[in-house]
Subunit: 202 residues, 2 copies
């Protein structure tokens, strides 16, 4: 075997930990289970990451720094508002279909550890001024109906993120199997951007 990607012990452990933590959450995850998944002795976990808490934080940061840039696209990309909505929706849904546990994991642990929020956002605070300017200009130019940047941002996030976080609820209410559900999600790659654009365009 050549050197596939990079496979240091650290990365082996981190990947195993990602799988377990993201599927079961911090509280329900077991160090032994992570060790098994990584195919190593439990002591190694503590050797490379001192404690469960630190291992968890490494996993969480890694997960968060995967998701955050995606969301940043909304407020920082340079294209027009409608293009932005179309692109983000396309990209985000494709992205999450590949990482189905990500958004739920992040949201869940963020709800459990509210102190994470300030820690994560204190360093590189996102700035919505650019996005707000864009909205205000488009409103002034008569391109879209008046709407607060914050509300539009929340709506874009909600329409794209929620279906994956609330998947079991949706599957239950609409009586969908995994296949039906995935089909609906792929439809949403155009459905959602149309919906948003129709909602705001004049």
């Amino acid at each position: 075997m050549k050197k596939e990607a990079q496979s240091t012990p650290e990365s082996t452990i981190l990947n195993a930990a990602k799988g377990i933590f993201q599927r079961k959450g911090m509280a329900a995850a077991r160090m032994q289970e992570i060790a098994d998944e990584a195919g190593i002795n439990k002591s190694m976990l503590h050797y490379y990451y001192r404690s469960k808490q630190l291992l968890f934080e490494a996993v969480f940061k890694s997960a968060f720094s995967t998701l955050a840039p995606q969301l940043n696209e909304i407020i920082n990309a340079d294209n027009s508002l409608f293009d932005k909505i179309i692109n983000f929706t396309q990209n985000y849904i494709s992205f999450i279909v590949k990482h189905p546990y990500l958004p739920n994991f992040i949201i869940q642990e963020l709800n459990m550890n509210p102190e994470f929020v300030e820690k994560l956002f204190s360093e590189k605070m996102p700035n919505i001024d650019k996005f707000r300017k864009q909205i205000e200009n488009d409103v002034k130019d008569g391109l879209i109906k008046p709407i607060k940047a914050e509300q539009l941002f929340i709506n874009i996030l909600a329409l794209n993120v929620f279906p994956f976080v609330g998947a079991p609820l949706i599957k239950g209410f609409l009586n969908l199997d995994d296949d039906d559900f995935l089909k609906l999600m792929h439809e949403r790659k155009i459905e959602v951007s149309n919906f948003i654009i129709n909602a705001i365009k004049i």
Copy 2:
């Protein structure tokens, strides 16, 4: 003290358990903590509810049966589509502001125990046929743009439920304190229904 509402030992325990379980989740909740919150001995928990699992299920069912009727309004209420959207949005947001931990708790535990889904929905399966008919008729009558009932249902749910589930994420990205956030949520009682109606009306 007269008999306030009803305060059987069972209900005292259940209420304490609700608080702890909904705030910390099944895995992180401790039986001792629930006992303390209820002001009773830990053995009482096992006396009235046999195990942590059963106590948890009682809490979950109670929580779910509080939330489910709210969501059922969308697919079963008798009013016109636009009224339905307006009413649901108003009611749901007011409802959740009073029960902030509910949707996150349900969604989280549903994600952790996918087998709950069939158990919960097998008895009283929701039926979207009525809602689907309504959409199809309104489309035929030229009242709204073509849209699948499933997609519209997901969108309504997303726009209303997500902001509360993803609150920490939103607060972080938009740099909001609790007060700003709550203000935005109250704005959404009309904002969201306008948004949806604009998106679909012709």
